[in-house]
């Protein structure tokens, strides 16, 4: 048994000794539940009152209407003790269910006494406060959703070895992606044992949620990468991505496919613990906006397969007109070109495969970059583009075949480069207070 203690199951000696010196630290005095309850100052204000449900068969943040901001975070687990993982997920869930209400909460921090010597903070600042960092105080719920996922590396090591007794529970659908042509993946921005997706209508609320949850047990779950994203207002219709095109007209959380049980939620023939769950493929797709901006909108429409202004598919009259992949023009050429993005990504081109996307843009500033296509321009360019969050029933029949085609044939490839990647099993939701995300896997 390690020296660390889970919140709600006791306190470490260190936190006990220090806790007495803190005034009004609810988590220390009353444990997890007490710490969240009954504080008048924790009530959300009138601001950002929209609150998304937390409990349910499915986690929120998947088909939830897209919020304006997202903070994605992946963590690496430093422990190989399943009990630590359970403690962590119980604490994550407990804090998450409070955060989505917009309340101010103490953080159910637990520490790893055995590794305290390695903690640079240990002697310099003593035990961490559990107090709320407060930057989201009185901002309200802001439709915050928190979605948790498990990476393949949580189950098995690089050579397939059992990591912590979970290898037998590894879903076949939680694949290691093959290499796709043209990708330039940054390992430090990819993969991860655990995943946390915070979405909210306020950027600081989303960041506060990740920041708070990351504080719970940094000795157990270490941040691996974070990525911020945003989506413009949808009051003018389907939001536009940085290419200037409407993004999410079909097969998105906003306009989902008809039968989610057949396309989104994990299939019944998979592991029972994933019932109600789904699989997420994350790709950070850098778009060479400098090159894209040189093209006139008509040519851009040929690349995308839709009109820039209206979002109508080429040959269609309105945004939601069906794709006519067979239509040909007077010269006998396809109206939607053979290499147009919408054609190659369409379900009809991919044996019916469908992915439910949440569309966010990202902007990480500028970095030196070599464009992937003639004339291989080297310059300081925008590191900006799209956060592809593709939820699906099974990446083996969804993302993998679709992207295999896209990576080799998509006319859009000369403007896009995949620079980060991850796949996560997103388990079912916490059904009710007391339940916790991951309980189906670990119970």
């Amino acid at each position: 048994m390690s020296g660390r203690q889970a919140p709600g199951r006791g306190m470490s000696r260190r936190s006990l000794l220090r806790g007495g010196m803190l005034a009004g630290a609810g988590a220390v005095g009353g444990g997890l539940a007490g710490g969240f309850a009954g504080d008048a100052a924790a009530s959300p204000s009138a601001a950002g009152t929209g609150q998304e449900p937390f409990y349910g068969a499915h986690q929120s943040g998947i088909i939830t209407d897209t919020q304006r901001h997202t903070v994605l975070a992946a963590f690496d687990l430093t422990s190989s003790d399943k009990a630590d993982l359970e403690s962590l997920l119980r604490a994550w869930t407990a804090l998450a269910e409070e955060l989505v209400t917009g309340s101010s909460n103490t953080v159910p921090i637990f520490t790893d006494a055995s590794s305290s010597d390695a903690n640079a903070y240990a002697d310099a600042t003593g035990t961490s406060t559990t107090d709320d960092s407060l930057e989201a105080y009185q901002l309200g719920p802001q439709r915050l959703t928190l979605t948790v996922g498990f990476g393949r590396s949580l189950f098995v090591g690089p050579d397939g070895q059992d990591r912590m007794g979970l290898a037998a529970r590894l879903p076949a659908a939680l694949v290691a992606l093959p290499r796709f042509a043209g990708e330039q993946l940054v390992a430090a921005d990819s993969d991860g044992d655990l995943f946390l997706q915070a979405c909210a209508d306020d950027p600081q609320v989303a960041f506060h949620a990740v920041r708070s949850i990351a504080r719970i047990a940094p000795d157990v779950a270490t941040l691996r990468w974070t990525q911020l994203g945003y989506s413009p207002s949808n009051t003018a219709g389907t939001p536009r991505n940085l290419m200037g095109f409407k993004d999410g007209t079909i097969n998105s959380n906003v306009h989902p496919p008809a039968n989610l049980d057949a396309t989104l939620w994990a299939a019944p023939d998979g592991p029972a613990w994933m019932r109600g769950g789904t699989y997420l493929v994350y790709r950070r797709i850098r778009i060479t906006l400098e090159h894209w901006d040189r093209l006139d909108p008509g040519t851009q429409a040929q690349v995308v397969g839709r009109q820039k202004l209206t979002g109508a598919p080429l040959g269609g009259t309105a945004e939601f007109s069906p794709l006519d992949l067979d239509a040909r023009d007077g010269d006998g050429d396809y109206v939607i070109p053979s290499t147009a993005h919408v054609r190659l990504a369409a379900a009809a081109t991919n044996n019916g495969a469908v992915i439910v996307r949440r569309a966010f843009s990202y902007n990480n500033g500028t970095t030196p970059f070599t464009e992937r296509w003639p004339p291989w321009r080297q310059a300081l360019e925008y590191d900006a583009g799209l956060l592809f969050l593709g939820y699906q029933q099974d990446p083996r029949t969804g993302f993998v075949p679709i992207n295999s085609t896209l990576a080799e044939q998509d006319a859009m490839n000369q403007f896009t480069t995949h620079t980060a990647s991850a796949v996560f099993a997103v388990p079912p939701g916490a059904e009710a207070p007391g339940d916790w995300i991951g309980s189906s896997l670990l119970s």
Binding site: R179, A181, G182, E183, Q184, H291, R294, L295, D296, P297, G298, T299, A301, Q302, V303, Q307, K308, L309, T310, A312, T317, A318, D331, G332, D333, Y334, P337, S338, T339, A340, T370, E371, R372, W373, P374, P375, W376, R377, Q378, S404, T405, E408, Q409, A411, N413, Q414, F415
Partner: protein
Amino acid sequence: MPTGTQRNRAIRLISIVGIPVLAAAAACSSGSSGSAVPQGLSGTEAAAAGSGSAQVSAADAAAATNLTPAAGSFLAGKGTVTVLGSTSPTNGDENPYALWPVTETVGSVHNGDVLIDNFNNSSNDQGTGTTIVDVHPDGTTSVFANLTGAKSACPGGVGLTTAMVQLKTGWVIVGSLPSTDGVTTTAGQGCLLVVSPAGKLAETLTGAYLDGPWDAAVKDDGGTATLFVANTLVGLAHSPTATAAQGDVVRLSLKQTTTSPPKVTAEQVVASGLAERGDPSAFVKGPTGLALGANGTLYVADNLDNAVLAIPQALTRGDSAGQGTVLSTGGQLANPLGLAVAPDGDLLAANAVNGKIVEITTAGKQVGEYYAIENTGQDPPGDGDLFGIAIDQAGTGVLFVKDDENTLALLHS
């Protein structure tokens, strides 16, 4: 690997055929009174096509002209492009340059395969690609050779060029014009790498006669062979802005057996004084495509002078012909790169500045062109996308690499 046949074109040439973008935008908003065309979509490019404005460059205008292949020409009747496979190996190398249709099963290659090398690594730095891939007839791709191990022996490193041949004895000879970061400033002299039929590095050929080996052509007699190599760094300062007129073509006499790799037994510069230039985009420009005519004339794609040159008696001459004679210039040519000899003896040239393949008779008459890559992501469409070309094993189609897609394609009827 998904393969696909496309009829003529994947992305149409809006800017060339002159469909005003403004009109297209207006048309798609009709019927929706609430979505007027934004003022910002009335850009100059909409009015440019066909209006003679500066938006249409001379290169654009030239690319928009047609030369329908003459009856009886090799290109006549060929209007279908089929993508055969990906040229991108697992290490992420990109930017395919040379291609070589394999006609003999030897070592790890089989009749029907196409060997293709890559000039860029996965970061797209030019002059750093190390792989030769093998695209099989079923559309799958495997790595024939990864020549990373030659970096220390080859001056400057490894960046595989369009200079690639396979000898009848099975040995593959491939040029390296390396850099460390994709910029001409770090270009190295390079070398020729000899690769066994099993894909293993066997030999590194270096010498004063090699300085930026860029393309090659071979006359292969089995135990001996004559290899022509275009050098494009001779006398050129290694800078993205340098220019020189010292590019040359060297003739190497080779001797080999199936078990001993080729050795250079003699060397002779047969062409010289050719224009060279460092380039911030294309890395380096200079004499590129080489093709040996049946009459012993060597044809040289003079990229910067937009010409195909003829070097007479190239197999036997004991001196340099200088720039030789101009076989063809201008017209449909747009800074030629790869050259191939068609079964009827005509030359096929791959344009650098647009995606056209141009057919030229040995009398110098341009008799047809085919717009093989009409990618409007480049301007003019297909600019920079073509490089190596070759006649397929059946002798009926033109194999070409699509640098914009990292694929191998076949033009056929």
